[in-house]
Amino acid sequence: MGTLRIAWRSIWRNGRRTAITVAAVGMSTLIMVVTFGLMDGMRIDMVHNVTHLVLGDVQVHATGYRADQSFYKAVPEPEAILDAARAAGVHAAPRAYGYGLVSVGHKSAGARFWGVEPAAERAAFDLAGKLAQGSFLSDSAEASRASRELVLGRKLARSLHAELGSEIIAVVQAADGSLGNELFTVVGILVSCGEDMDRSAAIIHARDFELLFVSGGRIHEIALNARGTVSPERVAARLEAAVTGKAELEEKKPEKEAGGVDIETWRELNPALSDMERLFGASMWLFSLIFFLAAGLGVMNTMLMATFERIREFGVLKALGSTPWRILRDVATESFVLGLFASLLGAVLGAACNLYLAHAGIDLSRYGDVFVEGVAFSPIWRAAASVEGIAAPSAVMVVVCVLAALYPAAKAARLDPVRAMTHV
């Protein structure tokens, strides 16, 4: 108790020195917290830009579907998956895929048809809002069918010379071997959504898809997006549990086409993005470390100077009978209290800045669009306000403060009192 009180008194004995030290430490902490928050925000945004578009946190396919994308490898019991997602409070969008030909006037091109539930896509993903022109499909199958709605990928629309209102002829190999064909009207053209989608996506209502492909309601993919409420791994685990629980019940009736499902997180679905995120995360820590060092050196300098200034004072203390250990302990306590106060101040201010930046963001749109994996990156740079992003810099600062004060204190503690008192 005595030690703390002495530390407290020492702190207030020289107000100017304390103010300078607090300002230096607090400012460094603030800068570190904000820098970390901004970089972490960029990392999270990078992932969300891709996963929130269409990828999702987790996707479910029939076993082996992703390898050959066979039309006949449909998710065995899509309703069970959708129920499990609903129970977990995670948005889910069922999709069907098929290949075919789209043609406008004299131009034709191969396309990948997407049969989607517009309402589900809207709830779970950002795709419905990513239109360069026009609008997304109507939620209701009737409305969509009445105006024969179709949304095209950007490059596909360009290569077909298609515009809003263009009539599109779709010709596909239907599931029964017949030649499925239908007329559609372009109601929307997507923004850049990645090379594959840009070149090939022709998105239609699930009901239209079923009629065109005679698909019998086949679902090839269920994409789940928790939108950050639950971790992708948790979502996958819950689905896994739901599916295996069901599989055990139904083991008795062998089904020819049943097979299992593949439940994969976005890391497995898009390893390139996952690697990029990990690399970014690692380099962020490395960069932070260097920044911590630089800020730490600044603080160390301040603490060194502040403590060296007091060597004569320590000499007097020693002459009065203080043990070297006692001097060391007093200085350490004092700098700990000072560092704690200053870094807490910096952390609070930094957290406030981060919260503001997370909310308002920094508008980068005037510097042009940024693309990650061909997906348009949001031009608003937002910070992430995470606990570790605030706690780590603050803790580092306190440690640096104590260490920086210990060196001159130790030096003073070992000095001969007379020499310490006359130390210049």
Binding site: S103, H106, S108, I169, V171, N181
Partner: protein, 248 residues
């Protein structure tokens, strides 16, 4: 026989080949190519496609002129009645009666299946002469599978736009009617084979009436074409192979 002179045996063996008119490899290939062609032809065929997931049968009416012009129209099933394909030169158009539209098959889709069969759009277009695109030689002559056959191996020329590594054509020596054509990929692995059978008299020509295409990579699948009737040299006008005619 054991007592007969060896020379006599050799002479006897040689006899048939001396007696029959022996065609060169090139003549045989041209004969196979021209089998169903003539100056012009028209007829009806039934195409049966068997895949892992579905089986279907279509009746088709076809017209052709020279090697460049072909028109094929679906007669049944009802759902696809009137769907037609026009080939003129190396271009293909499809007419879709349900939506009353004609579309040109883009070059990127030429490798795609024609009407869900194992024939590709390219198969329709590449009706050029084997002898023009391939170097060829007779690689076997004699008895095989109970028949006297001639086997010709064709390897594509350097500049030929051909997807196959080689094509082996086996014909009956008696009348040079094709028995089987085997298509090998670039790695010289058998990719698909087409067998000819059911010899039938169409007008004055005796032709195999059934062609069965079996892809090697899809066991159990096949496309079988059965000619019901074929007429040759019917004098079709070029206008029969126009886009207008396609939509009739």
């Amino acid at each position: 026989m054991s007592r007969s002179s060896p020379i006599l045996v050799v002479l006897c063996l040689c006899l048939p080949s001396v007696a029959a008119e022996e065609l060169t490899a090139r003549q045989i290939l041209d004969k196979v190519d021209d089998l169903y062609r003539g100056e012009s032809s028209q007829g009806t065929m039934v195409m049966k496609v068997v895949t892992e997931h579905w089986t279907r049968e279509m009746r088709l009416r076809f017209w052709s002129k020279g090697k460049d012009m072909t028109l094929i129209r679906i007669l049944s099933p009802h759902k696809e009645k009137g769907t037609a394909t026009l080939k003129n030169g190396n271009k293909i158009w499809n007419y879709l009666p349900k939506i009353k539209r004609t579309i040109k098959v883009p070059s990127s889709m030429m490798g795609g299946a024609w009407m869900g069969s194992h024939f590709t759009n390219d198969d329709l277009v590449k009706e050029s002469r084997m002898a023009d695109d391939y170097d060829f030689e007779i690689t076997f002559r004699g008895e095989r599978g109970g028949q006297d056959v001639v086997e010709i191996t064709c390897t594509p020329r350097q500049d030929a736009a051909v997807v196959w590594g080689k094509v082996v054509v086996e014909v009956r020596r008696k009348d040079y009617l094709p028995l089987v054509q085997r298509y090998y990929d670039e790695d010289m692995k058998l990719a698909r084979s087409m067998t000819f059978s059911g010899e039938k008299l169409f007008g004055e020509r005796s032709l195999p009436s059934v062609m069965k295409l079996v892809p090697e990579d899809k066991p159990g699948e096949s496309t079988e074409v059965r000619y019901e009737d074929v007429e040759f040299d019917v004098g079709l006008p070029d206008s029969k192979f126009s886009l207008r005619s396609l939509q009739e």
